[in-house]
Symmetry: C2
Subunit: 456 residues, 2 copies
């Protein structure tokens, strides 16, 4: 009892003009509408089922741009735009194959997928002995004499004891992003990376990697966690086994793609822009449902919710469907570059790129005074079990807006399941629950509504 | 900042002896162990895949009892017991079939499943005209002249705007539990009930129903939400369409089954018992993964976690795997009856029967002074995103312990996805995420550990 009163005092102190009862009703209206309307969910289904394989620069990605543009065009928004963006184009090629060939244990196919931007092995594949390492330090200790001519197998797992699974991801991602460059420097002929997932299963998880200009490029693939465990077991008793894999990925010249922007013009301060965004490009295989078709469709749904409730925002609210988050982050950079050219005033930005799982809250990076006021909004969200209002927000696509001093915010869903799907064939529409997805849409709409209305 | 200090003061006030730093380490050890060990998850897989269809009184249920008994027997516990329980036995019979036959729209198969304890239609099935209603009031308004000889179609959906989905379930469940008795009184020949789920899909969801002794028994089935929507649409333009369904369910005499009990004896107060439980019986089709194989395996995992961490509880901690939660709740009643006969002292009880979804916290029913202390434990769980510590707990199986004044508690996972699975063919092991499941095990172990150690 005492505690509740204490918090209420805080809120009233920060937000003297908020009529708590009225706003409670508005938030309930956002949630009620979101939980009873299938539009956004069906749009996500359509995107996933018809524009699978929409990797940056691909024809599928551009078809998805057109679909999204038409979707917003049909919404009677104040402005819809396709903003050209120059993007890299990497092609996965044929389905990858891999196998372990052990004189002791026999022959076993294992699931692999090329890492994004990796060169291919060539049509005949690559076969070599394997050396397993946990990290770059171990690589250096082994040195060229132990690595030369071999496939380096990076097998460090994401730390399962970290409750913050994004932290666990960050703690293991260097193997994927820089493993080939580091191993190549010691004469490795290929790289095999344990999939970055908290799940034990047969899905390989891809993601971008980068070469180093001074090192010979070698092909790199991710192997499923089950495959990695098996390989590691066999290696213990048969260090001379051979690993074979075949990838036919290659790069093509850059192409023009687009960010898709739709906006509701502000009634009082139309020059002040609030950006809400996700990214449209996605790794194949998989449908890019959680990463990040969901964030795109939730951003667009926020505009629909404002329209449906007849709420006219004071500021201009934009849903931005970014292109090329996964490979070179060109969409976010171009959006900010255009904003600078046009001298746009970016009041606030939110990125939804952590999956359509149960909303837990928001992370916010803003000057202290604004931050304190924004975090105090927590009270309004507690009836929905949404209690994570913490310092520290942003995202790859909205990050470049930081140059304008724009407060940056992350939509934060629950993160325990996210890496089951992330960058894998398991990231399908069926893995998105309607209620979790739409509670996210309503939470973002509510958050943006309060920030706009109370000038936070 | 102020707020955190305020809560800390509260905690210290209630729990003068808690060494916050030490207990933070113990809780982390519970979570670390749970998140790195696959035992409980693999046991759940085995239960789901080998003892599917373990409805109360069935041979599969008794085989699952034996499996669970052996599981605990192999754990080096202080006592393991199969406690005999007399249970009803209802048999579903052959796979159900149903179809809509419309002169206007044609013929369409739709998915149905017999409600638990319903009589069958007989081998030839049942065919009749349909009358759709939303509730019992409408049934009474229509009266015998409009209902006699027809199939009553109860089509009231769970309210999608309720964030508490268990509340939405409660608000629609009367159609399933009492629909046949109420419709039968007006001469209905059968009952069709919209599945109690928040999902729009093709799974029919079953659950128990009860007849009224004074009314003719009529067969009752659940229809999938997609099927219900289609039927409702067709009825609008063809009220004379026929519905046909065939079920061959029947009842057999009661049989003896068992609760399975395993315990770690208390070191200081062995006569004081803390019960943690779930139920082993489950509806078919489906594997009873979330409902409630998970709760059983989490309860047993709590004992393993205490053993693994070398924590000797002051009180006796029991994992109780109850039989017959779904049909007649005999397991819970018998457990309490035996407790009374043996004059056992039940200090605390917790039920885990809401699925293995992301843990949100605990509901507790206890005298005010104990309640306040227990709810203050919240602070320890916040690093795990577990923040729901609220008044009001219990469950069907531990409910009968209330007669002893035992404080009753519910493990409360997130509830947005639960009714996607509940009582349907969709309740399979694959729907249980390892991390969400094991964060639940660790949360329960931590909660029970603190309650025992600090005499809450």
């Amino acid at each position: 009892m005492k505690r509740t009163m204490f918090i209420l005092v805080l809120v009233l102190n920060f937000l003297p003009k908020i009529n708590a009862q009225d706003e409670t009703k508005v938030l309930k209206a956002f949630f009620d509408e979101a939980l009873t309307d299938q539009t956004a969910y069906e749009n996500l289904r359509y995107l996933c089922k018809n524009y699978n394989g929409r990797i940056t620069g691909s024809p599928q990605a551009e078809a998805a741009v057109e679909f999204t543009f038409q979707l917003m065009n049909d919404m009677n928004l104040d402005r819809v735009e396709k903003q050209p963006v120059q993007v890299p184009r990497w092609v996965r090629g044929e389905d990858e194959t891999a196998s372990i060939q052990s004189a002791k244990f026999g022959f076993k196919d294992v699931p692999v997928t090329a890492l994004g931007m990796s060169i291919g092995t060539g049509k005949n594949g690559l076969s070599a002995k394997v050396i397993e390492v946990q990290n770059f330090k171990q690589l250096e200790e082994l040195g060229k004499e132990n690595i030369d001519g071999k496939i380096v197998f990076f097998n460090r797992a994401m730390d399962p004891t970290m409750i913050n699974t994004f932290g666990a991801y960050g703690g293991a991602a260097d193997q994927r992003t820089r493993g080939a460059a580091r191993a190549g420097a010691f004469g490795a002929v290929g790289v095999l990376v344990r999939s970055l997932t908290t799940s034990q299963d047969d899905f390989p998880h891809t993601g971008v990697m980068r070469y180093n200009d001074t090192v010979q490029q070698i092909p790199a693939v991710a192997i499923s966690t089950n495959g990695a465990n098996l390989l590691s077991d066999w290696l213990k008793n048969d260090p001379d086994l051979n690993f074979n894999f075949r990838t036919t990925s290659y790069e093509l010249p850059e192409v023009t793609s687009h960010n898709v922007i739709g906006e509701i013009r502000g009634s009082e301060l139309p020059e002040e822009i609030i950006t809400i965004g996700g990214h449209l490009d996605a790794w194949e295989p998989g449908e890019g449902a959680h990463d990040d078709g969901a964030g795109c469709m939730q951003s667009i749904e926020v505009l629909r919710l404002f329209q449906k409730l007849g709420i006219q925002p004071k500021r201009t609210i934009r849903a931005v469907v970014f292109m090329d988050e996964e490979v070179a982050q060109r969409g976010g950079k171009e959006y900010a570059r255009q904003a600078a050219l046009k001298k746009e005033n970016h009041y606030f930005a939110l990125e939804a790129d952590r999956g359509a799982l149960m909303p837990r809250g928001f992370g916010v990076s803003a000057p202290d005074e604004r931050l304190e006021k924004i975090l105090a909004l927590k009270e309004y969200f507690e009836p929905y079990g949404i209690t994570h209002f913490k310092k520290g927000g942003g995202g790859v696509d909205i990050g470049p807006l930081k140059q304008f001093g724009t407060p940056l915010s992350s939509f934060v869903p629950d993160m325990q399941r996210y890496f089951d799907f992330h960058h894998s064939g398991n990231d399908t529409f069926e893995q998105v629950n309607f209620r979790e997805f739409q509670m996210g849409s309503a939470a973002i709409a509510s958050f943006i509504y309060l920030i706009d209305k109370y000038d936070l």
